[in-house]
Amino acid sequence: MSAKNKLLDVQHVTVEFHVGGLLGGTRLVAVNDVSFSIDSDRPEIYTLAGESGSGKTTLARMMLHDLDPTRGKVLFEGRDLTTVKKRGEVMDFMKKVQPVFQNPFETFSPLRRVEEYLYDTARSFIGARNRREAAPIVENALNQVGLSLDEVSRRYPHELSGGQIQRVAVARALIPQPRLILADEPVSMVDASLRMAIVNLFRKLRDEQQVSVLYITHDLATAYYISDRIAIMLRGYVVESGPVEAVLDRPLHPYTQLLKESVPQPRPTDRNAWAQHIDLGTLEIKEFGRIGCKFAGRCPHVMDICRQADPPDVEVDGRTVKCYLYLEDAKPVA
């Protein structure tokens, strides 16, 4: 498939940060040789899942054109993002890729009415000249998230509930009619009874508006519920990726297995498996600096080779897994 057919194409991206003093300090590889893509003609929900420090948000910043990769490329509609520099081009890119962030109360200024953000977005991206022109666009976007202009007009952020204001954030993102919504932990601040409203909204956008969603989360349960494909990240690497059912129903990478087993399931009958003792003592070591597989220090199947070189990506059972254990079963991905 040519690059033209891809909406988003992340090719072997690496990001390094310099940590520490002006002269000394060390390099920290926050994202390490990550590749994935989202098709242009088939909208989907793609999840990047991982714990804190896995590089999810660094990847998100690159895809929002907020950070350039140290190595590798991010292509959007076939175009390398580092070449998007002119104001008009940047605006055009921003129109097509819209973010929704974790904490809606930080997204919106407490001193400004939330509707102002919606009108601003309509003015900047759709070219509405005044409020009268913008109003139907804003109303339409709010209707898509199950709200109306009457409910939010003249309201300040603190006058809305967490679930409502997060839906306003999604409505704002919908105004430019984006092709991709990048949602970074959009439901972790939202109450349980309202969480599913947001999550279901992403499903609806995919099915009815043909909008793709890049869903960044640490919550495997909602990821399983909405996504088509998932990539599990650990310390900057994608350790396992593929269709969400394959990866989470039958995880192959020992890290994915540990992660899945550690997610508490809302079934008291299964509590014995979760209660199986895990040793946290070894967790505290710095895994970023480790040579070879970052999981080697806590992997129950660790071999000598795991500590010597990065494991290859191998294609097994419908997904890609970065692990030496499966090298014999399949050919490494070129």
Partner: protein, 330 residues
């Protein structure tokens, strides 16, 4: 005999600014008991009164919070404490840390950032018990930390040198230094990664199983309750909606709110569509009349708008506050 008895507790925040008075009824008529040797989970959404309930139960009431009515009584062995009557000096000397200790969400606020961990232990043990012999204090503290499975080296480190999970485990070690009868844990793992969360909760459970004390675990995360708690109380808008042993709450909930909460939980292995409740949690400064859940309840009838439902006992240890369940409709 119960360790803690809470009876018809009402605690309101009363503020008056520029002559406009406002009353937030954060805890509005809650009764429950904690038994010895159990983990009791309290679940509820934000601003349902969970934290206010803990404040009252642990005796940390500060204005504008006031207890309007009700009783909070403890029975620590032979030592009985009425939280409404006890004077602050006795509370500090005999109850806090020794009988009731508290693990918070952000343990950074418990640990002094400019002192090594051992000094925080020293502060607490020194204040509540006194340290006549420094060497035996150090030995005892090291032994305590080792028994809990933490490396003793953490005692010589500063809080910022520890990871979030390690800090939370240090906070649990601090909370258990006097082997209290009750450990109150308020969202102890909310900011942690799942693997670390599992380790921290396992530690809390192991301590409880070992020493037979009581844990009051407050978290909005129902999946955590499913795996940790013995009994669960579901709070909605300042009141208890339902209370039952964990298995019953998850397998046979009766209150429409509980049913919705349990039914909407996503889980790995099940992609079937899940509905979301309409409406939003009520504002406690102006809660709905009657049953506070009625504006969002799909089954609400006229009586629900009028009358506040009382807790009824359905079966052994299973209580629910719903008119429809009482009338046998649900």
């Amino acid at each position: 005999m119960a360790l803690l008895e809470v009876q018809d507790l009402r605690a309101y925040y009363r503020t008056e600014i520029y002559g406009i008075s406002r009353t937030v009824r954060a805890v509005d008529g809650i009764s429950f008991e904690l038994q010895k040797n159990e983990i009791y989970g309290i679940a509820g959404e934000s601003s349902c009164g969970k934290t206010t309930l803990i404040k009252v139960v642990s005796g940390t009431i500060k204005r504008p919070l006031r207890v309007e009515t009700g009783q909070v009584r403890y029975q620590f062995g032979d030592y009985a404490v009425d939280m409404q009557r006890i004077n602050p000096d006795e509370l500090r000397a005999n109850v806090r840390w020794k009988e009731i200790s508290y693990v918070m969400q952000g343990s950074m606020s418990v640990l002094n950032p400019v002192r090594r961990i051992i000094r925080t232990f020293e502060d607490i043990v020194g204040t509540h018990q006194g340290i006549p012999d420094r060497k035996s204090f150090l030995d005892e503290t090291r032994a305590h930390v080792r028994i809990l499975g933490l490396p003793t080296e953490v005692l010589d480190l500063y809080p910022h040198q520890l990871s979030g999970g390690m800090r939370q485990r240090v906070a649990i070690a601090l909370a258990t230094v006097f082997h209290p009868s009750l450990i109150i844990a308020d969202e102890p793992t909310t900011a942690l990664d799942v693997v670390v969360q599992r380790g921290v909760l396992q530690m809390l459970k192991e301590i409880q199983a070992e020493s037979g004390n009581t844990v009051l675990l407050v978290t909005h995360d129902l999946a955590v309750h499913a795996n940790v708690a013995d009994r669960v109380g579901i709070m909605y808008a300042g009141r208890l909606a339902e209370e039952a042993p964990t298995e019953i709450i998850f397998n046979a909930p009766r209150h429409p709110y509980t049913q919705h909460l349990i039914g909407s939980l996503p889980m790995i292995g099940d992609r079937s569509s899940r509905a979301s409740l309409s409406g939003t949690p009520p504002n406690l400064a102006n809660p709905p009349s009657g049953c506070r859940f009625h504006p969002r309840c799909p089954y609400a009838v006229e009586r629900c708008q009028r009358e506040v439902p009382e807790m009824i006992i359905l079966a052994d240890r299973h209580r629910v506050a719903c008119h429809l369940v009482e009338e046998g409709i649900l």
